[in-house]
Symmetry: C2
């Protein structure tokens, strides 16, 4: 991608940048300049002394011209699987942007996660890990909100959760749970979308902390 010259570097920072396009998750890939018609997750070798987070953020800026709405480290990938370059270890970051406000630089394209081109085995594992991270942290961090613009309707929010969870949700239950969590604030704007009654716009503005007292949960499925 760049710094291809420095062969001695032994680790990279790779960026799994995701967005929601319609009712599908999409991931940002960069065209591989050397090999034609090959794609890869954006990655770079940190400059000497550069923090890992900073390197991930710079990779995002190169693609979008702005910082993602959410960034989180997924982990380090090393095992047997090969990287686009001769890198020993790659530190993967998950980043999220709302699709509405994202404008791509040349050489970058969105691909639906269900329909990705060939990737290096290591980067394939990163994408796998990214989707698992999203699912597992969906109830602990405002993942869904970072994939939406600053204001949104409750139906849009619900559709985002349904997309990320991969299942339908009940409208009334969804809104009651949302209200109990004190996460959104209504604005005085409304949006009329063709048919039907206009929807009120909300913004993400968490107010209360969760109540701590709750028993144990045994929600795991593997040994």
């Amino acid at each position: 991608m760049r710094d291809r010259s420095s062969k001695s570097a032994s680790y990279s920072v790779d960026l799994v940048l995701m967005t929601a396009m319609g009712d599908k998750l999409a991931i940002l890939l960069a065209r591989n300049s050397s090999e034609r018609e090959r794609w890869s997750v954006p990655w770079r070798i940190p400059q000497s002394g550069e923090a890992l987070d900073a390197a991930a953020n710079r990779a995002a800026h190169d693609a979008l011209g702005e910082s993602p709405a959410w960034t989180e480290q997924i982990g380090a990938f090393g095992d047997g699987k090969r990287h686009p370059s001769e890198i020993d270890v790659s530190v993967a970051y998950l980043a999220l942007v709302p699709h509405e406000t994202a404008t791509l630089r040349a050489g970058y394209t969105w691909f639906q996660v269900a329909d990705l081109p060939a990737l290096s085995p290591r980067q394939r594992a990163m994408v796998e890990g990214a989707t698992q991270t999203i699912q597992s942290r969906l109830d602990q961090a405002p993942i869904a909100f970072r994939l939406l613009p600053a204001t949104f309707t409750l139906s849009e929010l619900q559709q985002m959760y349904e997309l990320l969870l991969g299942k339908r949700l009940h409208k009334a239950s969804f809104r009651r749970a949302l209200q109990a969590a004190w996460l959104v604030e209504p604005t005085d704007e409304w949006r009329s979308e063709g048919r039907g009654r206009p929807a009120q716009l909300f913004r993400y503005l968490p107010k209360k902390r969760r109540r701590a007292h709750r028993g144990v949960r045994f929600d795991f499925l593997y040994p």
Copy 2:
């Protein structure tokens, strides 16, 4: 720790190995051979081509002579914080062993996590991350079971959860939730512990998968 000679290496694998001693969490530290009375989390520089997991496992073998009951990557630590050596990036692993069956090699000692000696800032951050990982994954993975011997009483299991969660749990509710999850199987052994009625021993043997249908949860507290 070893391979101190190879200055060119730019990443390490560090092992946060934890156990439960009585009613306290403890972590394994290695005496620093070069500087007297300094301690550090066990770490090593992977051999060329060695997988990260394998390096973590070898570090555990050096300390215990056996593989941990649980191993999981925490993440890569790079930012400003210094490592014992001049390493750019350290990949941290969390590992768990039951205290009953663990025998330490020379040069290694358990320290209560509440009362650790001075560590490098980066390793201090790893320990912090390890405890957070434990708490956040306690309901998704059999963390508590990996800190117990193969058979245990339900009271011991409950005490382990109370230790990890940092709060008291209700006995009847705990057992009902456990029964509903189909995670343990009774053995035909009993243990008499001084006073009181003997307790039946159980083993970890998950049978059912969790039911998938459950609404959304908004359990997060930070923006």
